[in-house]
Structure formats: C-alpha cells, structure tokens
C-alpha cells in the first residue's frame, strides 16, 4: 500500500516560490494500476518523483508500504561517463540485486552488444531508451512508476517492452503518468487528472478522460 497524505511541493524559482502540487491525496493498493493524466507542466513528473522518493515533499506525508521503482522513463537515472554495464552494476548494488543475472538480462533484452562497454553519454536516444528499459526490468519491484514511456522506440522494441512490463508483470501495481488518454485507458483501472497542481480522482477511466477533455 502506498499513500499520499495532503502532499504539497513548492519550488523556489527566480520569480519566488511556485507551488507545483497542493493538497494531493492518493492511495494505491498492491497490484492496482492507476493513471494520472495531465497537460505539459501540470506537475506529473514532480508527482512521480515525490512518490519515488527522489525528491522530498515540502508538506505532507508519503507512506511506502511496498517496494517502488525509480521513475521509469526512456532515459535518466544514468551516469553519462559510466558504460552501460557499469550503470547496470551501479543500480544492482544500490538495490541489492544480483549483478550477473541482471547483466545477462540487459545484454539480451537491450540488444546493444558491444556498445554496453561504451560510456552512456555516447549513446543515441534510441540506445539510451533500450538500456533504460532493460535496466528497469532487471530489478524487481512491487510497484512501477512509469513516466511518459509511450513516446520512444521502434514498434518491435515497443512490443517487447509491452510484453515485459504489462504481461509478465501484470500482477504489480503501476502508476502511469501520461498526456495520452488512450495509453492510460489501455492499462489502468482508474485514473486521476492533474490540473494546476490539484489532483482530481475518478473511479472510472472514462470519467477522468471526459473531465480531462473538458479542461481548457
């Protein structure tokens, strides 16, 4: 069980304090899949980072009763001067996962071959995406946080990711943020909409969708 209790996040910018999220309440049970819709800049990624614990909330409490992934996106969470393999080793060490099977999996899944020994900063964005996804699947979690994962990758790789995440791991909880309603409709049981820092929850994905569409 994951729960957010009256969570707020304020960033300090040059123009003064900017409230990105305010009064967020949300709870996710084991195995539940929930979508969060929002336009660009609505605070979706911030919400995901707060749930993951990468950033701390300004106010409110976040309870994490199950193991939660880092925000999975096609990129990020890498150190650019380390090679692909060294990034895999780093992440395994941090999460206490066995290294050898993870390397085996990443090698097979990412199809990056000898590039795995090159620094990640020399990768193309497609290569990064493959590595990022492969690493995220090499460590197991009870809940996956998925940030705009739809956009990148050719269709064959996209299909592989789909099987790995939504079929092999369909028993896990997932929090998916996206501006694509179709993607959320396909994978989630319920959805919430982020509008100017406030979260509006709906039991039904279609209700969330029509509310999202009605926003100016």
């Amino acid at each position: 069980m994951i729960s957010l209790d009256n969570v707020a996040k304020v960033y300090h910018t040059r123009e003064g304090a900017r409230t990105v999220l305010e009064g967020i309440n949300l709870s996710i049970a084991k195995g539940e899949k929930i979508g969060v819709l929002g336009r660009n800049g609505a605070g979706k990624s911030t919400l995901i980072r707060l749930i993951s614990g990468a950033e701390l909330p300004t106010r409110g409490k976040i309870h994490r009763g199950i193991s939660i992934s880092w925000p999975l996106a096609f990129g990020g969470a890498f150190q650019g001067s380390l090679s692909g393999l060294d990034n895999v080793r780093f992440i395994c060490r941090v999460y206490g996962a066995p290294i050898e099977p993870a390397i085996e999996f990443v090698r097979e899944f990412s199809e990056l071959g000898t590039y795995l020994r090159e620094p990640v900063k020399t990768y193309s964005s497609g290569m990064r995406a493959r590595l990022a996804f492969a690493i995220s699947m090499a460590v197991e979690f009870d809940c996956f946080l998925i940030d705009e994962i739809v956009a990148v990758g050719d269709s064959r790789f996209h299909e592989k990711c789909h099987i790995e995440l939504f079929e092999k791991r369909k028993d896990r909880a997932m929090i998916i943020v996206s501006h694509s309603a179709d993607y959320i409709r396909e994978h989630c049981q319920r959805a919430a909409v982020l509008v100017s820092g406030k979260l509006h929850s709906f039991e039904d994905v279609d209700d969330a969708f029509s509310y999202y569409e009605s926003q100016p």
Binding site: G53, E55, L82, V94
Partner: protein, 264 residues
C-alpha cells in the same frame, strides 16, 4: 536516510550498499579501467609527497634543527593532503551525480561520504606505503609511538571528513564559496603546522597557531613519529571538540542541501 520507519539494521544495510556502489562508481570514472587504474588513488598523493620531500630536503626546511627531514616532510605533507584533498573533492560533488539521485536511497550525504572515504583511503595508503618504504631503506626510523601517530591521523581524518561535508554542502549554496575555498586552502597551507613545529615559534605565536585545528593533528602525528625527541603541543580534546562541532555543522548543511536537490 529514511522517514518511513525502516528498521535500523536494514537502513544500515542500505547505507553500506549505496556507499559501496558510489565508491565503485567514483573509482571507475576517475581512474578508469585502463593501465594501473585505481592505483592512482594513492600513487598521486605519494608522488606529491615525494616531490615535496625532495624539495624540503634540498632547502633544509627543518631550519637547522636535528630533526630527520624525510620523516618531517612525510608527516607534514601527508597531513595537508589529507584535509585539502577531502575538501577539494567535496566541492561541487552533487552535479556529476545528479542523475543517480533518481534512486531514492542515493542521497546527498552518500555522494559526499563516498568521495571523502576514497580520499581518506588514498591519503592513508600513501603515508603508510611511503613510511614503510623509507623505513626499510633506512632514511627514516620507525615511529616511536605508533598508537599516538595513528590516533593523530584518525583525528585528522575525522577533521578532513567533517570539513569536506561542510565545505561541500556550502559550495552547493553559492558559487562564491567554491572560488574562495581554493584561495583559503592555499592560505591555510603555511598555517597548518606542516612546515614547522609549534615549538619553533615564539610563545605569543604559539598561542595563536594552536587555534588552528589541523595543527593539533600534525603535532600529534609527529609526536608519535619522533617520540620524545621533539616537544609537541597538541590538545586532542580541543581537536575532538572542534571536529564534533564541525561534523554537526556539516550534517546540518547536508540536510538542508538534501531538501533542495532536484534530480535532472
């Protein structure tokens, strides 16, 4: 580093794992996998110390006293390297690691701790290897009181660690700190007790110089090396209290930095 009531033992396990992962990451990016790789960790401070030892031998930096110059230079310069390398490596340590902070358990303190532990290991290995080397060829006598020397070194390492935390966290707050700190370390060099014994100074200057914490470390290490052949003025109690306060200041600054860090 948790706020959801993770049991202490598990937290400790996570801490060890994360620090270890970050140390490996530092070693690989700094020294690479090629040639002699991570041996540079202590070869670099060793070569530095050797160079300074040669220089001080030529200019007879012991000022006509009967003190053996090799041991004097090695104890002095190693002490400087210990705290200077620590604080320099801690400056702006967050940015190259920012993308790794996507992982919940990788926190600001861990990034600093990994770098500081590496520097301390490097500087310690350097002084141990050099001492063994020079003792075995007969240019240096074995330390008269190894326990005192070791205690001095450990207290100085503590100082280096807490200084690193404080300066590192402060450098994240403002660019000015980053620039001014390098000037500061140069100015502290002649005042750190590396190039002189406190006993050589006139009384009124002794009282002033003993306010500088690192002087106590260097004096204590030399007390251990030379035994009763020299008169030293260290006050381990003052040094420990200073370290304790500096550690608290460092941790408070780190905590504050941790609140503001935003992964890429």
């Amino acid at each position: 580093m948790n706020n959801s009531g993770t049991p202490l033992l598990r937290s400790f396990g996570i801490q060890v794992r994360v620090t270890n992962a970050l140390i490996m990451r530092e070693v690989i990016t700094r020294y690479g996998r090629h040639n002699i790789g991570f041996l540079w960790l202590f070869l670099e401070p060793m070569l530095f110390t050797l160079g300074v030892t040669t220089l001080w031998t030529i200019i007879k930096a012991t000022h006509g006293t009967s003190l053996p110059i090799t041991a004097f230079a090695i104890t002095g310069y190693s002490s400087i390297l210990l705290w200077r390398n620590c604080s320099n490596r801690a400056v702006k340590a967050i940015e190259p690691n920012l993308s790794l902070m996507y992982h919940r358990n990788v926190r600001v303190l861990d990034v600093f701790a990994a770098r500081l532990i590496l520097e301390i290991v490097g500087a310690s290995t350097s002084i141990i290897v050099l001492s063994i080397l020079f003792i075995s060829v007969g240019w240096m006598n074995p330390p008269a009181d190894i326990l005192t020397a070791l205690t001095g070194w450990i207290l100085l390492a503590w100082f280096a660690f807490s200084l690193g935390l404080a300066v590192g966290a402060a450098s994240e707050r403002s660019e000015v700190i980053e620039r001014v700190w390098h000037i500061f370390t140069y100015l502290l060099f002649p005042l750190s007790g590396a190039g002189f014994m406190v006993d050589w100074l006139p009384k009124q200057y002794q009282d002033i110089i003993l306010w500088f914490p690192m002087v106590h470390g260097t004096e204590m290490i030399r007390h251990g090396y030379f035994g009763n052949a020299v008169r030293t003025y260290e006050n381990p109690f003052y040094f420990s209290v200073f370290n304790m306060v500096l550690t608290l200041v460092g941790l408070a600054l780190i905590r504050e930095t941790g609140r503001r860090v935003e992964p890429e």
